[in-house]
Amino acid sequence: MEKKSIDQLKEICSQVRRDCLRMVHAVQSGHPGAALGLTEYFVALYFHEMEHNSHFNMDGHNEDLFFLSNGHVSALWYSVLARTGYFSTEELKTFRKISSRLQGHPATEEGLPGVRIASGSLGQGLSVAIGAAQTKKLNKDNHLVYVMMGDGEQQEGQVWEAAMYAAHHKVDNLIAAIDYNGQQIDGPTEKVMDLKNLHAKYEAFGWDVIDVRKGNDIEEVLKGLEKAKSLTGKGKPVMILLYTEMGYGVDFMVGTHKWHGVAPNDEQLENALGQLKETLGDY
């Protein structure tokens, strides 16, 4: 796929946000908050940074792989997969409906192109991505493995088992990222279970850690990803702390955990869509 310009990427972000809100609204269920917050990162990965093949093959030889550990941002992933040609954007209409390939949380059972493992139960994706990265090394495949996690997810113990393992085994073809929005279902992370200094924690575990302070600024995200790529192949796994704002792009949704798992009603949808330009055509 041809790499997009910054302006094009911004237009795609606007459309992807529309997709997410319309999908969640249509079934009155889903997770709009983090989906809106992570839009720039996903668009940067799939439309610019990753070498990937939308003619989907589970083994993914000779391409970069992406794993989503915080599976509840599925609407965002589905929109980006559809918009990059993994399946028709028409199929976004089936999100969370009966007999759909677009399950509430991503799954492989229905054979949705682009998804390589089920996720939703938190804490598991980092381990899976590390395993896939080690297989790439065994296969002498020089491509990278990316994985996305939530910040609340860092409260799961398995994440730290995986963090310790990746450094010990020098898994340096891996770029992990944490959606550092400071929110989780029951409130701000610092009130629910304070993560304290995640940067220092991952460094102490033996990772290279990059802070992307403006995770909703596409240029900053691209710079962060380029920096992360430059650190691969040097004996350490790489972590991006991606500072995002939950609900970014819609004024009444931004910066609160309130929209973690709540769908907008008709009026709210209209208000939100009014703030997001239709750039590629709604599905």
């Binding site: 492989t108 493992i117 590390i130 896939a132 080690q134 297989t135 065994l138 398995q158 088992e161 995986a162």
Partner: protein, 322 residues
């Protein structure tokens, strides 16, 4: 007691079933370059040392972190590897149930979960390690194949068979030295029960270490003029329903024997088959809703009612209920 009996199967050597796994894994590694091994700090106990030594690049020490090990294995399948994970049965199942459920079973990943030290015969380490619920947990998972071989040779054959079987699988074996009574060159067909001894009065369906106890029980029953059929159910899921129905169709009653809780074990699976197709008396040999304790394997099998003498009693009771 078994020395004086006229046994239909005999043995010249005893060995632990986990060694069958270790030796099978080494051979599998030589046969197929995609076979990889993972172990959570129990290389010696799981007998994975020879594989590690011969294939250091295809072996992954995970440390005491079983949840991560399961996720790693799931990920390694993406790109074509066939991971065999090794730890004790307790840490292979209950400790990591959700990881197996989401990342392996639901995601249909080609991971072989290999579990040693299962059941009471773990012995002196006691109940914290003697898992008796693992078969139940694993057989409930859609897409999961569950295999419980009975001796060293069968464990080795099962390990090799799993390389060519695509999909999630649970392989359960144990710690103690145990008679080797099945042939070294056996053909192991996943999902196909093996009729060990032909009989007409009662069917004994046994799995794992208790297949040997069933062989001993058959000789004891024969001395009393009772003809027992002994069937080795090495694959609990998918269950060989045809073999069960064929045997009970003839004997009209059955005993299940396993080193596992009665709740959720092989006996439950057999009961379903019989209830749906051929309601018949069924007696269960297994642990009855309790935890184990420290002791020798022989003492524990006796105390919890899992040895040949108890199979004999259960067989007579099943016959009396016809």
């Amino acid at each position: 007691m078994e020395k004086t009996l006229d046994l239909k199967f005999t043995y010249t050597e005893k060995k632990d079933t986990r060694s069958g796994f270790g030796d099978g894994l080494l051979e599998a590694g030589r046969n197929n370059p995609n076979v990889v091994g993972l172990c959570a700090d129990l290389i010696g106990s799981l007998k994975m040392g020879a594989f590690q030594k011969e294939f250091p690049d295809r072996f992954f020490q995970t440390g005491i972190a079983e949840a991560n090990m399961i996720g790693l294995a799931a990920g390694m399948t993406i790109g074509g590897k066939i991971p065999f994970t090794g730890t004790f049965a307790n840490f292979s199942t209950g400790r990591v149930y959700d990881q197996i459920r989401q990342s392996i079973a639901y995601s249909e990943k080609n991971v072989k979960i290999c579990a040693s030290h299962a059941g009471l015969t773990l012995g002196e380490d006691g109940a914290t390690h003697q898992i008796l619920e693992d078969v139940g947990m694993m057989k409930m998972l859609p897409n999961m194949t569950v295999i419980v071989p009975c001796d060293y040779n069968q464990t080795k054959a099962a390990t090799l068979a799993l390389v060519d079987h695509h999909g999630p699988a649970y392989l359960r074996f144990g710690r103690p030295s145990w008679p080797i009574f099945t042939p070294a060159d056996q053909k192991f067909e996943i999902g196909k029960a093996i009729k060990m001894i032909e009989g007409k009065d009662v069917s004994i369906f046994a799995t794992g270490h208790l297949v040997w106890e069933a062989v001993v029980a058959e000789a004891m029953l024969r001395e009393e003029g009772i003809s027992a059929e002994v069937i080795n159910i090495h694959t609990i899921k998918p269950l060989d329903e045809a073999a069960i129905l064929e045997s009970v169709g003839k004997t009209r009653c059955a005993v299940s024997a396993e080193e596992h809780q009665v709740n959720g074990g092989l006996g439950d699976s057999i009961a379903q088959v019989l209830a749906k197709n051929m309601p018949s008396p069924l007696e269960y040999i297994g642990v009855n809703d309790s935890f184990g304790e420290s002791g020798t394997p022989t003492q524990l099998l006796e105390k919890y009612g899992l040895n040949a003498e108890n199979i004999v009693k259960a067989a007579k009771k099943a016959i009396s209920r016809k």
